[in-house]
């Protein structure tokens, strides 16, 4: 018969020896520690960024940038420059955003960090798109696609394809959008990309007048984005759901989703989105004869310091 006690003891000794060996194997790595510290600061900044606390996020990214430069860590510096560019983009300071993304891209190009370079180009495309320059956006997206292909990273390529789909949807080129969504589908392996895929699929369906499909896709997008607490994306999904219900002639449901979108945008401090939501709320309130009070929304949507 197998004696359990001695065997357990033997396993315990073996485990202890492994721990000892592991402990001995651990060596002091000052540079690694510093890089870890930079990443911790950057992660904190990313969390603040996702909560809409742009000023504090910017402070963290700046600190991480200084630290990266002080230990000669170009990859980290490029990452922080990109993140600072993202902050500038959120603040609608497009020239500054463009400058920071370009600096990050040059550093990544020198180090041949293609995946990060692809993100930089995709962000440059976003900045160009928001600045009302579709030609430059298109050019940047091509560069992003090239960098993503060089990186051999599926999520990187999926990200670019999804951005292409969004670009074509903005320009009402539904066939091209469909093509890129089909190409992005197998590559969207992360929750972030899945959320974007569902959202764009919903937009495509809504553009085609298929509100059932749009409702299903936006609901799936909302669920996915909520799982990773992508608040800005969630607000976009909620607003889109409001549009779907408005298109279906259900003002009560549309009102609910617009209110939820309004509250998430308000929580994020996205003042510029509030008038858009308020306009939709006024529309559904009037057309549906809902008789809801708009005082709270009007007060929050007023321009001025937050």
């Amino acid at each position: 018969m197998w004696p359990p006690a001695p065997s357990l003891s033997r396993w315990a000794w073996l485990g202890l020896a492994a721990c000892l060996v592991g402990g001995c194997a651990a060596k002091v790595d000052p540079f690694g520690q510093q890089v870890q510290r930079i990443q911790e600061i950057s992660i904190q900044g990313e969390q603040l960024f996702s909560r809409g606390e742009l000023e504090r996020a910017s402070r963290n990214f700046n600190r991480a940038l200084v630290l990266s430069r002080s230990v000669d860590y170009p990859q980290g510096a490029a990452q922080q420059l990109n993140n600072l560019g993202a902050v500038a983009l959120e603040e609608e300071d497009y020239p500054k955003a463009r400058d920071l993304f370009a600096q990050a891209y040059n550093l990544n190009l020198d180090g041949q960090h293609w995946e990060a370079a692809s993100i930089n180009q995709a962000n440059l495309a976003t900045a160009a798109q928001k600045a009302g320059n579709p030609e430059e956006a298109s050019r940047r997206l091509l560069a992003a696609q090239d960098a993503a292909q060089r990186s051999r990273s599926s999520p990187a390529l999926g990200r670019v394809y999804l951005q292409w789909a969004g670009f074509h949807l903005d320009h009402h080129d539904l066939a091209a959008a469909q093509d890129f969504l089909t190409r992005a589908h197998p590559l969207a392996t992360t929750p972030e990309l899945k959320g974007a895929l569902f959202h764009h699929q919903g937009r495509l369906s809504l553009a085609r007048g298929d509100t059932d499909q749009a409702l299903a896709r936006f609901s799936a997008a909302l669920e996915t984005d909520r799982s990773i607490l992508a608040r800005a994306a969630m607000a976009g999904d909620l607003f889109a759901l409001g549009e779907v219900f408005q298109a279906r002639g259900d003002p009560e449901q549309a009102w609910d989703y617009y209110v939820r979108a309004f509250d998430v945008y308000a929580g994020l401090g996205r003042k510029s989105q509030l008038p858009r939501c308020l306009k939709r709320l006024q529309e559904v309130n009037r057309t549906g004869g809902l008789g809801h009070s708009l005082k709270r929304f009007e007060k929050l949507a007023q321009p001025g310091p937050s």
């Binding site: 651990a26 990443q39 990313e46 995709a122 959202h199």
Partner: protein, 317 residues
């Protein structure tokens, strides 16, 4: 037969002995107080006269007593009689009596008697040895002071002033006609004023102006009465304000205490922060070391990975 003192005799003897000792001690204390045992230096001061100084008169320096006059006498020096004052100065001040010291008799303003003031000598001059003569300065008499004032020059100046006054009087006599004319003119002006002629006359003599002035004064009176009433209304408000200020002051006191506490706490804060940072750092290092262990690394949850942020257009305004 037993010889010696009886008990009574012994008691009386002891009593007398105690009395003797007590007297001796008292004398010693008094002598100490009077400075009888204090070492003193004797100096001589020669003056033209005694200026009411007498034996026991004080000797002062910086208006503080440093000794006394011990004797006075008249001596003949170079055929001239002089008053020789012998003074005793405490030895501790002997260093201050030097060749450039000057002794002078000072009279009191109202109360007290004359004393001898000695000015302190400079360190560059040699000390005056005991029984040496201290240079003296004679006190000036009233006639001497008068003689100083009434000099030839002063008399000349007074004479000149009297001459000037006489000259002025002569000139006035010559200009009598012009002065009379001026006085007549002034009379004429005054007459015009009383008749109410000219701007000044109208201002002074017209009743209308007077009436307007009176009306103005009436208005002013009314205004002052109203102001008085307002002041009465203000008084309770001022009292309330005082109470309010007091209440604020009372409220501020705990706030001050809080601020003081915060201030004292904040002084310790950097140390606390440093200690906390050190502790956190060492704890983190320990945790890192634990995480580095392969067995733990395998089972530990994967932390978030820092990455470049991709800003999708759908998330933007």
């Amino acid at each position: 037969m037993e010889e010696g003192f009886t008990r009574k005799e012994q008691l009386v003897g002891a009593f007398l002995l105690v009395l003797l000792i007590f007297t001796m001690v008292t004398l010693l204390v008094i002598a100490q107080g009077k400075g009888w045992f204090q070492p003193q230096n004797t100096y001589l001061v020669k003056l033209k006269q005694g200026y009411n100084l007498r034996q026991g008169s004080l000797v002062k320096m910086f208006n503080a007593e440093i000794g006394k006059v011990s004797a006075m006498g008249i001596t003949q020096t170079l055929g001239r009689p002089q008053v020789e004052v012998t003074i005793k100065v405490a030895k501790e001040y002997a260093d201050l009596i030097r060749q450039d010291s000057v002794a002078e008799v000072v009279s009191p303003t109202l109360i007290g008697s004359e004393y001898l003031e000695i000015s302190p000598g400079s360190s560059g001059y040699p000390k005056i040895e005991p029984y040496g003569a201290i240079p003296s300065r004679e006190r000036k008499s009233v006639t001497e002071y008068l003689a100083e004032i009434v000099t030839q020059e002063t008399v000349q100046k007074v004479k000149l002033t009297v001459d000037n006054v006489a000259q002025l009087s002569e000139q006035l006599k010559n200009d009598e006609k012009a002065i009379l004319e001026a006085v007549n003119r002034v009379n004429q002006v005054l007459a015009s004023l009383t008749e109410g002629r000219g701007t000044m006359g109208m201002l002074l003599m017209q009743k209308d102006l007077y009436a307007r002035l009176m009306t103005g004064l009436d208005h002013l009176d009314k205004f002052l009465v109203e102001a008085k009433g307002l002041l009465v209304d203000f008084r309770p408000m001022a009292v309330d304000l005082q109470g309010f200020t007091k209440a604020i002051n009372q409220e501020i006191e705990p706030l001050r205490a809080i601020v003081r506490n915060i201030k004292s706490g904040s002084e310790e804060l950097p140390d606390l922060m440093e200690a906390a940072t050190d502790t956190a750092r060492s704890a983190k290092e320990t945790m890192d070391a634990i995480k580095a262990n392969p067995l733990i690394r395998l089972t530990a949850p994967k932390g978030a990975k820092s990455q470049s942020i991709h800003v999708a257009p759908r998330t933007l305004p």
